[in-house]
Symmetry: C2
Subunit: 414 residues, 2 copies
């Protein structure tokens, strides 16, 4: 049985009600989380409830590929497989699966496909409400990468850390859930269920599902020579959240304090948080308007890892060459100062809830970027080109770093 | 991006291919897992890769209810909520959600509903292949509890323990995946994607989704006075897997060795494993044939916990009274010898991938049980009755314990 129970006791979540009652303004939740206002230890930090983040928490790409062979469908069970193949031939839609952002399954019901994805991350920011939003945006991003803009349902998957005290749990988990739910509402969908377990680390994830017509999603494998590559969010989220944690770790901070000021780091952290919580939905919608030839979203394997995975999936013999790296302001400098730690300029620094990486016809790309900025107030960048090649991706030797400043919002800097 | 990658290297999973090549017989995988044959330490035990199991890994029911208030839809956002309500009124199907085994969402597409669920457990048996099957059966069970028999798609969610060596990981994870996949095949569905992370504990879960017509699922809230309650699998899985681990822990074993023999425990363990890996699909199919009035599946909150949740959801003023407890042979004795540890006879011992608990018209129940035994070779039991009441459930003072023996299979005892 899924454990979500409906019982409503009057001993409700005081904290959340307070928030809702006193402040409809999201800015309230974006303020640095103040443990004292929830009667928690001043040293409480959500990010302490997991030892790994970003790529650290992923099974390395090449090992995963090997392990996942087990799930390939064509290795055994001749008869069953054959039946399946025959069934598939009757259907007009392609069946996409392992290796894609989302799985696409043709349904028994005429012309419809099931598009779905699941994802899960560990805490990377200390604001529980924003962390909930980020977890939700991160799950939805896999649908948006396929150009799907309507999510029909979400489930939430939550691991509550065994190291949280009851007080911490009761203060923080409702805020995370509220962030997750608010983000789902923003995306025009609902959280109807899910699963909660106790786990050593705090985990935040979910499932996003869309049942759609074939014209509602965009296959990711139609890039052609001459296309250009667009990225819709800046890189450097992982560097920013780490630098922010180092403000409280003198020996780490000493390593970068000549490169950045505390204010720089706070701005970068807020920009990262803002960016990670932002939906890729408009980016997905505009993929249809500007005839995108395929896309993926940039997350745990970094820009280059995901560009390579996308290149490998192409039907035509193409390769991706990346010339520009839009990076949250000052974070390229921080990454350089840390030696090989982040691999940001090499394209391997993990991102959380990153932007869409989209192959667009050359003549449409500038209009795409202009349109997204007009609708959302956020820049997108042409970062590379599609050449003839062997389905790989690379970053040129000395890529141009585009410094992406913190955004002005409501008079305060984010 | 969902991390499943398609790349196939020739350096494939030797172990799995070996199994497939040499032995199509599932019995091979059911043998006690032999670490030596995978070149692992003799002391390797899958169950050591999590400290909690069963109810231990759940957030307690009452706390969860409180936390989940955040996800209720009617607390705020008046306008958006109203729009949603209006949308719902246009649809002929009910929308079920939090608190149910699966969430049911009416779709934009004519007459169809999305039924889906997610679940996740920690290792409870030492056979990786069987553990994969159990994890899959456990996820699917939430669909079957609603009488849904066709799963359209599955995703697998895997947490690989940070404590596993590379060698252990490469031996064990493919076996778990194979078990998961084989169980999905048995259920007539496919695993098309998922998510893998690194986590302190090994976690095993997934998502099951069905898009179906309204007549394909059975609402769980139509029990009436005079119905009887049927259970389709024996209780005691948690006791059996614990007793089995105690064979290697002398101080624990001493506590129960006067009650059971090593052979009893091995038989109970195998019966439990067999039972947990068995699909509730036939049970779900027969719910339609015999006009079930509602069902749930028995998992982490134990028989009584789930009976209470089902009772609370009823439309009519009814209560459930349970008279009989079918329990894996000897496990009632073990539970008694352990004092309050398991709460098996009180109905609170957690089960994993337990049976369906079904409300059936009195005149149909015996035929239902007979039919399931005829089709599957497994017994089902009438365990209680539906009375007039306040939507609660209880077990009578001295319930009758039905000792359920290990099954004879292929000449060997399970």
């Amino acid at each position: 049985m899924a454990e979500y129970a409906t019982t409503v006791t009057q001993d409700t979540i005081g904290a959340v009600q307070l928030e809702i009652g006193n402040n409809q303004n999201e800015l309230y939740f974006r303020k640095p989380f103040d443990p004292a206002s929830y009667d928690l230890e001043l040293t409480f930090r959500l990010t302490k409830f997991a030892d790994l983040k970003g790529r650290g928490c992923k099974v390395p790409q090449e090992i995963l590929s090997k392990l996942l062979l087990t799930l390939q469908h064509n290795e055994e069970n001749g008869q069953q497989e054959e039946e399946h193949t025959n069934f598939m031939q009757l259907l007009p839609q392609p069946r996409l699966g392992i290796g894609m952002d989302s799985s696409v399954t043709p349904l028994r019901h005429n012309g419809l496909s099931l598009v779905q994805t699941t994802d899960c991350i560990y805490p990377i920011v200390d604001e529980p409400y924003m962390m909930g939003k980020i977890a939700c945006a991160n799950v939805l991003s896999d649908l948006y990468a396929l150009g799907v803009t309507e999510c029909d349902n979400m489930l939430m998957i939550l691991g509550v850390s065994i190291k949280m005290t009851e007080k911490e749990r009761d203060a923080v988990i409702p805020l995370i859930m509220k962030g997750f739910k608010d983000c789902a509402t923003e995306a025009g969908t609902y959280v109807t269920g899910g699963h909660t377990v106790v786990n050593p680390w705090c985990t935040l994830g979910g499932v996003a599902t869309s049942i759609c017509q074939i014209n509602e999603y965009i296959e990711c494998n139609n890039a052609v020579v001459g296309d250009v590559i667009v990225l819709t969010k800046p890189l450097g989220t992982q560097v920013a959240v780490n630098a922010h944690q180092w403000l409280e770790q003198p020996e780490r901070w000493n390593r970068i304090k000549l490169i950045v000021s505390e204010e720089d780091v706070n701005k970068a952290y807020n920009r990262a948080m803002d960016s990670m919580a932002r939906l890729n939905r408009t980016a997905a919608r505009l993929m249809h308007k500007y005839n995108a030839h395929g896309a993926t979203d940039v997350t745990g394997f970094g820009l280059l890892g995901h560009a390579q995975a996308l290149a490998k999936n192409q039907k035509k013999e193409v390769s991706f060459v990346i010339h520009n790296l839009p990076i949250i302001a000052k974070m390229a400098g921080v990454a350089k100062a840390c030696g090989n730690m982040f691999q940001l300029l090499q394209g391997s620094s993990p991102e959380t809830s990153g932007g869409l990486l989209i192959c667009l016809p050359r003549e449409q790309a500038a209009a795409y970027c202009k349109d997204i900025e007009k609708q959302e107030g956020y820049q997108a960048w042409i970062i590379g080109i599609v050449e003839k090649g062997n389905r790989s991706a690379r970053i040129i030797d000395k890529p141009r770093v585009i410094e992406v400043p913190a955004k002005e919002k409501d008079g305060s800097l984010w």
